[in-house]
């Protein structure tokens, strides 16, 4: 059974269809990046999954439990931080944990509270008021609150917002540990493509409330596509030759061609050289950023 299944989810907000027939599912123990431009519906989707807002149409199953029919049973399997780790700043870290422990369906023992404090490494500051915590510490406490009841799905909306590089690194470490050791499935929404690339196993891209693509971030080089950057002259001749391989963009002094296979790269070089084009630089990049932008580009062209 998949831990989270979203089926044909739709939601209209202020007359605009923010989520439009969105469907996806998550496999157990993997970390998913949830990507999309601003206003694509990422946060709205997360709020729908955790039942902060009502759906107009569609179904959400958490560990097989229908959120519409068995809200409480479904929610006991999920933990989330929506936007900020909103905590009671006038209470101590421990009081916050005890507060949310009292809301769990299954009793949470004192040892479990100590275990999560230990996991997020807040032992020395746990009895201090949350208002004295740094943003990174609040984020860690937020994660502790979210995993306290041992959920099988953890949803984090922009978890690295406001964190310094060290804080990001620490967070990455905790999240990986959760996925690998405890088999927790994570859905991490982020603007930071590099962050997603480093942390996640798979990525789901949404735009205008619809899933545009889902892909593996750990696939081998031969399966992936590349973005090729070429600096050559004369530019008109170079452009003509490159155009036969796909849509060519001019980026300052460079030509950019998206979605090229690894095998295609020598062919591009050969085509340019045969036509006596002077080749100054050729560089190819394989990465989420390239794939992400090319996906959004493709989607724009299709519309």
């Amino acid at each position: 059974m998949k831990p989270l299944v979203v089926k044909q989810l739709s939601r209209t907000f202020k007359g605009r269809k923010v989520i439009n027939d969105l469907s996806f599912s998550l496999d157990r123990g993997l970390i998913y990046g949830f990507l999309g431009p601003n206003g694509s519906g990422k946060t709205m989707t997360i709020r729908l999954i955790v039942s902060l807002i009502k759906m107009d149409r569609g179904e959400i199953f958490i560990e097989g439990k229908d959120l519409n029919k068995n809200r409480e049973e479904a929610l006991q399997h999920i933990g989330a931080i929506v936007e900020d780790p909103d905590l009671y700043t006038y209470l101590s870290g421990r009081q916050n944990l005890e507060h949310f422990a009292r809301m769990s369906q299954k009793p949470i023992r004192e040892e479990r509270i100590e275990e999560v404090i230990d996991l997020v490494e807040l032992t020395s500051r746990i009895d201090d008021k949350v208002k004295t915590y740094s943003l990174g510490m609040k984020q860690r406490l937020g994660i502790a609150v979210s995993i306290l009841h041992e959920p099988s799905v953890l949803i984090l909306d922009e978890p690295t917002n406001g964190l310094d590089p060290n804080g990001m690194k620490e967070l990455r470490y905790y999240l990986r540990r959760l996925a690998k050791q405890d088999g927790v499935t994570l859905l991490v929404s982020s603007h930071q493509l590099r962050e997603v690339e480093v942390l996640c196993d798979r990525a789901i891209v949404i735009k205008n409330g619809q899933a545009v693509d889902e892909f593996d971030l750990r696939s081998s080089a031969t399966e992936s596509t590349y973005t090729v950057y070429v600096t050559a002259s004369p530019e008109a001749e170079a452009h003509a030759q490159l155009a036969q391989f796909g849509n060519v963009e001019k980026n300052e002094s460079q030509f950019v061609i998206y979605n090229q296979s690894y095998e295609q790269i020598p062919t591009i070089v050969e085509a340019l050289v045969q036509q006596n084009v002077r080749l100054y630089e050729i560089r190819c990049e394989q990465g989420l950023e390239e794939r992400y932008f090319s996906l959004l580009e493709q989607e724009r062209d299709e519309r």
Binding site: R47, V50, S51, L52, I53, K54, R71, E72, E73, A74, L75, Q76, I78, A80, I81, V82, E83, D84, D86, L87, Y88, T89, Y90, L91, Q95, H99, F100, R102, M103, S104, Q105, V145, H149
Partner: protein, 250 residues
């Protein structure tokens, strides 16, 4: 439910500073006591325990205002700080969450009122008494009971407004307005037959049905009046619960 009530008590104590409110009330009572002693000695009025307690019972206004702060802080306060999100994604029904909020803060407000009355009684013992102390004590118990419908009514009103507006300041202002001006409205409408059907005409149960009261009661029976109030309370809370359950948290 027990866990939710503990949570709300904890948040009220630390977040809305009940301890500080108790200290402030104690200081106010002490101030009234000192003024009463000073007047007593300067003018030779010879205040009695029952008179001191009667004067001090005006403090119920502060309790009422503080109850608005407690309820709105628990409902709209959590909406403005964002903690409501973490609360509502937990596997607990929204009904139970809202119920725990207004019920806990209602009980806290009532206990706070009892604390004030008890303190008044204790300070009142420094004055001579002409009626037995037990009678004064029962008068205080009676005062607390008569004030309860009014307290419940305003807590229900604050709950409804806090759920609708999700704004602490707006809720407090909108709740205070009828608290201070409803009597004036009722007075202006008194010449009409329908005036007795204005819910605010029923709130001051103690004065409405006090045998020495000059104004006629809105209904012939006190229990009918309380029943009428309860219908409004139930209606306000039912609407608040329906809205809270369906409300989107953006």
């Amino acid at each position: 439910m027990k866990g939710l009530v503990i949570n709300e008590t904890l948040k009220a104590w630390h977040g809305r500073r009940i301890g500080l409110a108790m200290i402030m009330m104690s200081i106010l009572i002490l101030f009234i006591f000192i003024v009463a002693i000073a007047i007593d000695q300067s003018f030779g009025l010879l205040l009695t325990t029952e008179e001191f307690v009667t004067i001090g019972s005006v403090l119920h206004i502060f309790i009422m205002l503080y109850s608005f702060v407690l309820v709105t802080g628990a409902i709209s306060g959590e909406a403005s700080t964002g903690t409501i999100k973490q609360l509502l994604i937990k596997p607990v029904s929204r009904h139970r969450i809202l119920l725990s909020k207004w019920l806990t803060n209602l009980v806290i407000s009532f206990l706070l009122y009892c604390f004030v009355l008890a303190l008044l009684f204790a300070f009142g013992l420094f004055f001579p008494h002409v009626v037995p102390l037990s009678s004064t004590f029962f008068y205080l118990v009676e005062t607390a009971l008569y004030t309860t419908p009014s307290l419940i009514f305003y807590v229900a009103l604050a709950t409804l407004l806090a759920v609708i507006t999700k704004n602490t300041a707006v809720t407090i202002v909108l709740t205070i307005l009828p608290y201070f001006f409803a009597d004036l409205f009722v007075l202006l409408a008194a010449e009409y037959d329908w005036a007795s059907w204005i819910v605010f005409a029923h709130i001051d149960v103690f004065n409405n049905y006090n045998p020495v009261s000059l104004a006629p009661p809105p209904f012939p029976s006190m229990w009918a009046s309380i029943g009428f109030l309860l219908i409004h309370i139930a209606l306000m809370l039912a609407i608040a619960h329906i809205i809270y359950k369906r409300q989107d948290v953006l």
